[in-house]
Symmetry: C2
Subunit: 190 residues, 2 copies
DNA sequence: GCATCTGCCTAATTCGTTTAGGCAAATAGC
DNA sequence: GCTATTTGCCTAAACGAATTAGGCAGATGC
């Protein structure tokens, strides 16, 4: 009956691990308490409620992801930076599916503004400095890349590419190739 | 106390509408029963359980989406077909957010194989006939398009583009432009 | 060594999911 | 038009998750 030593930090980190194991949706206070060897009610001193727990896991994931992207693109430019950035997303999603799902959890605007979401946007723009894009094309490109990364990784981890050849890793590199070449010859007609 | 006239069909359709109003995750049997003016338990004669309800809503959404895509791309090719296809996705997602979320619900492989998912894949390949892509590039392109459509629409409906200019509609057309030009000059290096 | 703080507890409420079994309205056979 | 059957919706009840209120005891500060 000794104390387990819970803190908000603690609980959230354990929640993130739980999410990776059983899925973000199933990372509930009840299940988390079970894992921590504690009564469910005890968690409510550290997180406000189920939504708060999920929000904190989401913020943790965004932070981790931003750290990794930041490390990966340092000193790289152009196509190198593009693949490094993209691979961080993909690797993170494959290694930490629950956290990655958490990173896509709908945050209210105020919370999102405080979190690491802004860092992501900034890094994406930094990445595009290696390509010669004026506004508004740069913004369009940011959104395209964000869409492709999120979309591909989502489909892949949902098993959408599982039952067909070639395997998804090949498509991934081919797509990065294509995006690189697209960014170099971005159509500025409109 | 007269009978409401529930059928599986009925219940699922009402569930889809509920999902559009309150979100797919919140489209629970309990809430649905409330809307239908019926006790929760009564639904269980028509759907097996909450998961079954969600699965059926997902299948309905996939079907509707496939029907619309099919109508939209008939008689079109190349860039016309591409934008028609893409706009069906986007319009559907904006008009029916709950159903669209449902369409991304993880189905077990057997169920997925029976559903309209395969029609989507076939139509996407048909769309690409307008571009000159040999295998495996065509498959890569299918996956790229799937990723972009899903990713963009997801981010947009999650409000990811809300607090920055230019507005998302402009990015959408710019991205379709870019994709069209990319498909016409697909890099076949690898 | 005492007072305080606080981490985790028990107890209780509310709500969603699900199963079992019953009654009555619709339907079909004659 | 009466009877038999189906079946749509019900009540009752079990179970589990989320959440709040309040209490005890172990850690901490003096």
């Amino acid at each position: 009956m000794g104390r387990v030593g819970l803190t908000t930090e603690n609980v959230v980190r354990a929640g993130a691990e739980l999410a990776d194991e059983v899925g973000f949706e199933q990372a509930t206070p009840a299940e988390l308490a079970r894992r921590l060897g504690v009564r469910t009610a005890s968690l409510y001193s550290h997180v406000a409620n189920a939504h708060d727990l999920k929000t904190r896991i989401a913020l943790l994931a965004l932070e981790e992801l931003a750290d990794r992207v930041s490390a990966a693109i340092a000193g790289r430019a152009g196509r190198d930076a593009l693949t490094a950035f993209a691979n961080v997303y993909r690797d993170y999603a494959l290694a930490h599916p629950g956290r990655f799902a958490a990173a896509r959890y709908r945050l209210d605007p105020a919370t999102a503004a405080t979190g690491a979401g802004v860092r992501h946007a900034r890094m994406m723009r930094a990445l595009l400095r290696g390509y010669d894009l004026a506004e508004p094309h740069r913004t369009h490109a940011v959104r395209l890349l964000g869409s492709v990364f999120a979309g591909f990784v989502d489909l892949e981890s949902a098993g959408g590419f599982e039952h067909s050849s070639p395997d998804s890793a090949q498509s991934w590199t081919a797509i990065l190739d294509a995006l690189d070449s697209l960014l170099r010859t971005w159509p500025t007609t409109s």
